[in-house]
Amino acid sequence: MALTRSALRLFSGRFTQACQVRGYADAPSMSLTFAAPSQVLYNNISVKQIDVPSFSGSFGILPAHVPTLAVLKPGVVTVFENDGSTKKFFVSSGTVTINEDSTVQLLAEEAVPVDTLDISAAKELLAQSQSQLASASSEVAKAEAEISIEVSEALVKACE
């Protein structure tokens, strides 16, 4: 009788240890490093979700996202922080790296908070780049003007 009771106790202890199943709900959080050459926006800060615009499509990054590399398109990056607040930043270009251990490095060439953008200046830039494309002569100049148009269109869109 005593033997079986102590045996049960032993077994129950073992079982509770073995039954700790992990679900995606409490996956390890991801730490984000979002930086531009002249400023740091997030340095190894744990966040809930990041939406990035990339050349292979806009996608959202959650913890335990499959590792990947992507090149950023001009557009808005939305960061959902752990306390529920959202911050939006406009990025001009750059790269995003998602590693196996859920660390994310978002390296942007230029990144500014969206509320510092001025829509009239953005529209002016768009008009300027369109005229640049019209007057471009060489392939390189055409490509540069097209890039400029892409950035200004994204800027205008971000302001709206």
């Binding site: 490093t33 930086a35 531009a36 050459p37 002249s38 400023q39 740091v40 340095n43 190894n44 050349f55 292979s56 499959v66 590792p67 990947t68 590399l69 992507a70 090149v71 270009s93 750059g94 790269t95 790296t97 590693n99 196996e100 251990d101 660390t103 490095q105 978002l106 390296l107 060439e109």
Partner: protein, 290 residues
């Protein structure tokens, strides 16, 4: 009878072999000028150092983040015989201590160990160090570096030229001076991986949906980012090293000034004493004659 002020230099001839007062005073004036110059250089580089350090603090997460992928994906150097590429990051201006020579020394030992090495030099000073013996290994030189703080556009320009020149390499590194404290810096190297090395990385299959386009864009952008980071670190090390060097120079000049002033005063007193002796012995001779 004779009125003298300390500033008047005596007209009589000095004994040969002893520095004349005129020579000492010329030397004293020039060392004082040098001290003024080194002190002002120290002030200027102190101001530039504060600015550079501030910018470096903002650029550090960017630079460290740019290296993360290569560490996490365990990218290794490509097996192959395409040679080594060294990007030596420095600047154009001297009088900054051991900043340029430490880089030059490491490049020299590397080339001696592995003759199939191409060097991209950023900054004139290292070019001067390497030109004599290793002119054949120099692939590209970037000048007009160091006058103004580096911006990402500068690094992008250098990266673009490197890519356009089509240099092929199996292993590569960026050599620069990493900033530690105001009084110390360390010459470090950051590994540089070719596109093939990235494509063959052991953990690359873990990364989803990658094609060669993405890898190419990624490596090009990270080359520019790593170059930018190394330029920022190097600029801060250079300014702090120049500050220390100019401070030491001012102190040494100050010591020289003290010694020279002492010699000047002694010589001046010796001259006065000699004149007195001559006059008095002349007067005594006249007296005894009478």
């Amino acid at each position: 009878m004779f009125s003298r002020s300390a500033a008047i230099i005596p007209q009589c001839q000095q004994v040969r072999g002893m520095a004349t007062l005129k020579m000492i005073s010329i030397r004293l004036k020039s060392v004082k000028n040098i001290q003024k110059i080194t002190q002002s250089m120290k002030m200027v580089s102190a101001a530039k150092y504060t600015k550079a350090e501030r910018e470096l603090k903002l650029a550090r997460p960017y630079g460290i983040g740019a290296q993360e992928f290569y560490k996490k994906a365990e990218v290794k150097d490509e097996e192959g015989e395409k040679g080594q590429l060294i990007i030596a990051v420095s600047s154009d201006r001297g009088l900054c201590g051991a900043v340029h020579s430490s880089i030059g020394r490491i490049v020299k030992t590397d080339i001696a160990a592995n003759p199939n090495t191409k060097v991209v030099i950023v900054g004139d000073k290292v070019r001067n160090i390497l030109q004599r013996l290793y002119a054949k290994n120099i692939a590209m030189v970037v000048t007009e570096v160091g006058r103004k703080p580096a911006v990402f556009g500068d690094a992008a320009l250098v990266a673009q030229s490197i890519i356009n020149s089509g240099i092929e390499f199996s292993k590569g590194k960026i050599l620069f001076n990493a900033f530690r404290t105001v009084v110390s810096f360390r010459t470090t190297e950051m590994p540089l991986y070719s596109q093939n090395a990235v494509a063959n990385a052991s953990k690359l299959p873990v990364y989803d949906s990658l094609d060669s386009d993405v890898i190419q864009s990624y490596t090009e952008f990270s080359l520019a980012s790593l170059l930018f980071y190394s330029m920022k670190e190097n600029a801060t090390s250079e300014q702090s090293s120049r500050m220390t060097a100019m401070d030491n120079a001012s102190k040494n000049a100050g010591e020289m000034i003290d010694k020279l002033t002492m010699t000047f005063n002694r010589t001046r007193q010796a001259v006065i004493t000699r004149e007195l002796i001559e006059i008095i012995s002349g007067a005594a001779a006249l007296e005894t004659k009478n």
